[in-house]
Every structure is written in C-alpha cells, then in structure tokens.
C-alpha cells in the first residue's frame, strides 16, 4: 500500500502497463524528458527509452493518427493530449478513424489506443485549458469513454484502459492531480471493472450522480447535507460509455430524487442523457424531476470567473433543496 497523488497513481499505472507489455507505447507533446506538463509520465522515458516514450511534434491530429497506424502494426499506444481544449485538432482522427475503423474492417482490426485527456477547470488556467469535452466523445459509437476521480481508480483504470482492445478516451481530472490516497499497487484483487459505476457513499434521500472532478465535490456536499439531516447517495459513474445504468437506476428507485453534477455545460451535456434515461426507466419512482448542475452554455470563462461557472458544494446543495420543492 502506498500513498499516491492521482498523477503519481497514473504514472505508476502507466509504468506497470509498460512493464507488462513491450508493445505499450506512450506518445505526446513533452511526455519524455519533461515528464508531461503535469509530470504524469515522469521518469518513463528514462526507463523505457525514446522508442517507447515518444516526444512528438506539436500536432494533435498527428499524435492520434500515427497512434492508429502503430496500433495497426500491433502496438498499444497511449496518447497524451496536453489539455482538454487541444483535443479538437485531433477530433477528426478520433471520431472519423479511431472510433470507426474496427467496424469498417468487420472486426478484423482492433485499435487498442488510449487517449488520455487532462480535463476540467479549477486551476486558474488560460483559455482552452479547462474544458470538459466528454459529450463529444460519448456521442460517438466505437469509443469507450471513462473518467477517473481518485488515485486508486486512476491506477487501476489506466491499466484496464491499456489492456482494452477498444479505443478508450481517458479523462483525468486535472484539479485532482494532487489529491492523495492509499493505493494498493501489489494486487489486482480490489480492481473494479472500469466500465462499472461505484456507489462511493450510501444514502437514502437523494442520489448525486457525478464523475471525474465532481465526485469529490459531491462527497463534500453529502457530508454537509448530513449535518442538516439529509442522507445523500453519491455514485461515481467512472464509465460514461458504456454507462452502468443498472446501478444508477437502482439508486434512483431507492431515493426517488436525482441530481446530476458535471462541469460541462448542462445544455446537451452528459447529464441530459442521464435525466432522460432515468425518466424513462424510473418515472413512477421519482418524487421530483431529475435536476442538473453544471457549466453554462458559454465558453469556459476567464479564471477569475471560474468559481461561478464550476459547480461547487453550495450549488449542489441548492439543487438538492430544489428536489424537495416539487
């Protein structure tokens, strides 16, 4: 058992994946000597060499496009996109090629490519460094989309993503990179399959659905609500595509009230899918409409305003209160 930050946990997971399989490669901008701008790949080039930890030219479409070619040759590349807002130059390769090529070949091709994306805001960054682009990718058939929220999950989920024969979009909550927790790096026994959701706090009155950076916010909200006598259940979705809907449904039927929390804009965001599904499947169990808390339908604001844009404990609790007004 080691106490690891989330970024170090991913680093350890990547190291393990590279040790286990010589076909695993890491590629991206600054991933080598610098160890990535968040140091997630720190030390890996030193230990595995420049042929396996590849510093690439500064072009995201090229990173993902050549990763596809390497995967066609039998390698398992892990691409690092430096920041969420920089994934858009690679969106064409991800959406038109990475997601669809296995089907195009009627299953003859496997593309075990992982695209790691540090996502979300809260670190006072400049434009294009704080976005939550998950809905673009959950909308695309052929991709698996997952989001880790804590060091232990980060460690196990990155390894599962690398082992997966499908392309995986792997979201890392950048403002949680420095959060620490115990991680058992000696065993795989405790690993939850990376396409399953986990109930991270049991409750009876309201279900909070979150993933990535908002899981911690929701746990804090649940603690605060407890002091006011309300019992909130918190589910970490972990996988957005596929979605572990049975677990969501079970909780929604139990509590009858659901609040979805994410950083991305609410409009057409992932919460809309959850709200629609819950309404369809749990209509007679609901005490109130499914509410959503998230970003606004604006570009991500300058950092001096991000505390207004990002859901915080108070906005979550306000939504919880509203579920009791119907």
């Amino acid at each position: 058992m080691s106490v690891l930050t989330l970024s170090k946990a991913i680093n350890e997971g990547l190291r393990k994946a590279m040790e286990d399989d010589p076909k695993v490669l890491i590629m991206g901008e600054d991933v080598g000597k610098l160890g990535g701008v968040f140091r997630v790949t720190d030390g890996l080039q030193k230990d595995f060499g420049e042929d396996r930890v590849i510093d690439t030219p500064l072009a995201e479409s090229g990173i993902v496009g050549t990763a596809i070619g390497l995967a066609l040759r039998g390698y398992r590349p892990i691409c690092e996109i430096q920041f969420d807002g920089f994934v858009f130059p690679a969106a064409d390769q991800i959406i038109t090629q990475l997601a669809k090529m296995p089907l195009r070949s009627l299953g003859a091709i496997k593309l075990p490519v992982v695209v790691r994306i540090p996502c979300g805001g809260g670190i006072g960054a400049v434009e294009h460094h704080s976005e939550s682009p998950e809905a673009y990718f959950t909308h695309t058939g052929g991709l698996r989309v997952v989001a880790c929220s804590n060091p232990a999950d980060a460690y196990s989920m990155i390894q599962q993503a690398v082992r997966c024969d499908d392309p995986v979009i792997f979201f890392e909550p950048k403002r949680r990179y420095w959060e620490k927790a115990d991680v058992d790096t000696s065993s795989t026994d405790w690993w939850t399959p990376f396409d399953e959701a986990t109930v991270v706090r049991q409750g009876t009155d309201v279900t909070l659905l979150a993933y990535g950076p908002m899981v911690k916010t929701c746990l804090e909200a649940a603690t605060a609500a407890q002091e006011e006598g309300r019992s909130l259940e918190v589910i970490d979705l972990r996988s957005l595509n596929p979605l572990d809907f049975p677990k969501v449904m079970e909780s929604a039927r139990k509590t009858g009230r659901v609040v979805v929390v994410h950083e991305a804009p609410v409009y057409n965001g992932f919460g809309a899918e959850l709200a629609a599904r819950i309404t369809e499947s749990c209509f007679y169990h609901l005490e109130s409409p499914v509410l959503r808390v998230g970003g606004f339908s604006t570009p991500y604001p300058p950092s001096k305003l991000e505390e207004h844009y990002l859901p915080d404990l108070d906005r979550v609790l306000e939504a919880v209160d509203r579920t009791f007004t119907f």
Binding site: P57, V64, G65, Q97, P102, L106, R144
Partner: protein, 363 residues
C-alpha cells in the same frame, strides 16, 4: 515574395519518363528499368484488367447497383506501376480510388464494391493482403501510414509503407503533419500523390502555387515528379523510393503527374468545370495505349496475346457483375456488430430493443 510563374503548380514536365506516349522507350540516368518481355506483357494485362473492373463498376452504378463509384480511369499506370513495386511485406494505405493498387495486392475486386453498394464500410482484412481499408476522409490515412511505418521501424522489419492520396489532399493538415512525422522520425514510407489535376471541380491551382513534389523539400526529404501515365516510370521510381525507405533513408514524396479522365465520382459532371480539349489532350497520353504501342512496335506481343487479354477482361467484367448482384444485403442487426471488440452494455441494450421491435412485425 515572388513566385516563378513558369514553375507554377501545373508547370510542364520535369518528370521522369521511360516510355513516351507514342510507345518509345527512353532512357533516364537515375531511374532506368530492365523489364523482360513477359514482365511488360504482365503490366499490360494488369492495366487492361483494372480498367475493365473500373468500367464494369461505372456501368453497375449507372444501372443502380452501386450507390456511387470513384473511377480510376486514366490513373491505371500510376496505380499498377506503384502497386507492382511493392513487396509482400510492404503495407499500402489507399484513399478510395486505388482499385489498381488493390488489384496488385490480390484483393478480390468484388470486395471493393461492398463499400460503394452500401453493404459495408470496407469489409476486407487489411492484414491479409497488406492493403489497408479505403479511407474516405481526405488525407487521414497518411498519418496511419506513418504510424505503421514507425511500427516497422520498431520491429526492425525489412518493409516500408506507401500512402496514396490525391492533389487535393495535399492541402489537408493531416498530410502536412504526416510529412513532418515521417521526416523527423525518418520513417520508412513513400508518399504517393496521384496528381490527377482535379479535386472534384477544383483545379490544381486551388491547392498549390508550386509543383507538388517540391513541397517535400520544405519538410526535408526528397520529392520527385514522375509521368503518372507511364507504368515503367512509376514502377521504377516507386521501387527505388521503397528501397530507400527500407534501407533507412526515410521518406520520399512521389508526385505521379496524371489525369482523371472521368468524373471525380459518378455523382459529378466534369463538363461543368473543365473543357473538352483538356480531356482530348490527355487521351493522347493514355497509359494503356502507350504500352500496347511499345509491345507492338517491338514485336513483344502478337494479336493473339492482345485478344486473349481482351477476352480475359470481358470474363472478369462479367464475373464481377454477377458477383456484385449476388452480394447479399446485410441483416438489420448487423448494425450492432463489430462496434466494440467485446461486450458493451449500450450496444447490447439497443440491439435487444431493436430485435424485439422487429419481431413485433414478424408475428
């Protein structure tokens, strides 16, 4: 800055040519080639047969059997010449018009029709023939080809990749990124640009102010322009470039200067954007006629041989037609197949729902 207009995008040939349009063999100091009569006859056969495959596919489209077809008419020499330069271990990444290269890789021509008939999006195993799937998005495959070449490098294999694309694709970011990657990683790859002069309705002047092969120098590797209607020259130049790539000398850009004699696809009408005299001028450079003239002029083939190739072409066309019509429509639930390699809850759920819905009609 000034641009030398005399060396513009469509500047006249500074190109490698080994066979004139009249069928006369010419020498080239760097790219000569020694072909046996049998090899020449074989190239001629390839050219005639792939033109026949293409002609049959156009006819099938006109009769409503294919949704669309991208004709290779006029580009046979570029494709057969480069395709025959490949060894079995080399990997080809085509766009959607490389029916001649597919022929050289022994991909059954009927498999090419599936995409255009709408029964699948590709449907052959690229590893079986080292011929990747057709890529519709312009230029995307050039990056895949470079990545694959980087894999060859890591494997230490004696092989190279070849990436096919058109003149229009040279405007795409991915093609330029692939040039950068190939250059800085010294990847074993040949970029084979078939400059057929038109990107749907847009002429070459809309893509470049300099000859395309000269782009390569800006990326730090050699570029060469070859007569794309000369199968000997295309074979010789591609063979050399692939050899260089396999030997660790990095990428080469080959610009095959050719002409798309038909429409971009069966959906467009070239008479709206280009003049008839242009087509007439290029007809005089027909890639098949010049090999035929060479064979006849040098008494390397008699009428019986030419007739036998024609007969083989007729049979091939008829066989392709028959097998196209026999191609079954996919079953509805095949929509859900091959999206993921393993179980996927969402796809399984939608599949089950749609199956139940369909069953409702059958009862």
């Amino acid at each position: 800055m000034t641009v030398d207009a005399s060396r513009g995008a469509d500047a006249p040939p500074e190109l490698v040519q080994l066979l004139t349009p009249e069928g006369e063999r010419v020498e080239h100091p760097d790219y000569d080639i020694d072909l046996t009569p049998e090899e020449v006859r074989s190239l001629y056969r390839d050219l005639v047969l792939v033109r026949r495959v293409d002609l049959e596919a156009v006819a099938l489209q006109r009769q409503g059997e294919l949704g669309i077809w991208a004709s290779l008419l006029g580009q046979e020499a570029a494709q057969i010449g480069s395709g025959r330069a490949l060894t079995d271990a080399d990997m080809a990444f085509p766009t959607y018009r490389e029916h001649g290269v597919a022929w050289c890789r022994d991909v059954d021509p009927v498999k090419l029709l599936g995409l255009f008939r709408g029964v699948n999006h590709g449907g052959w195993d690229p590893a079986e023939h080292n011929f990747h799937l057709y890529t519709i998005v312009i230029g995307s495959q050039t990056l895949h080809a470079v990545g694959y070449a980087m894999g060859i490098q890591r494997d230490g294999a004696n092989a190279a990749t070849i990436a096919y694309f058109g003149d229009g694709a040279t405007s795409q970011g991915d093609v330029n990124e692939s040039f950068i990657w190939a250059s800085v990683f010294n990847a074993p790859i040949v970029f084979f640009c078939q400059n057929n002069q038109w990107a749907i309705s847009e002429p070459l002047e809309k893509q470049s102010r300099i000859p395309l092969y000269r782009r390569a120098s800006g990326f730090g590797f050699p570029g060469i322009r070859v007569d794309g209607n000369d199968v000997f020259a295309c074979l010789a130049v591609t063979r050399q470039a692939l050899k260089n790539a396999r030997e660790g000398q990095g990428p080469t850009l080959i610009e095959a200067f050719t002409y798309r004699m038909g429409a971009h696809t069966t959906t467009d009408d070239p008479t709206r954007y280009r003049v008839a005299s242009e087509l007439e001028a290029w007809k005089l450079k027909d890639p098949i006629e010049r090999v035929k003239a060479f064979l006849v002029r040098n008494e390397l083939a008699d009428q019986a041989f030419l007739d036998s190739v024609e007969a083989e072409a007729e049979d091939l066309g008829a066989d392709l037609r028959r097998r196209c019509l026999e191609m079954p429509d996919p079953e509805p639930l095949e929509i859900f197949d091959h999206v993921y390699t393993g179980p996927h809850a969402l796809v399984a759920e939608e599949r089950a729902q749609y199956a139940a819905y369909l069953e409702g009609f059958e009862r």
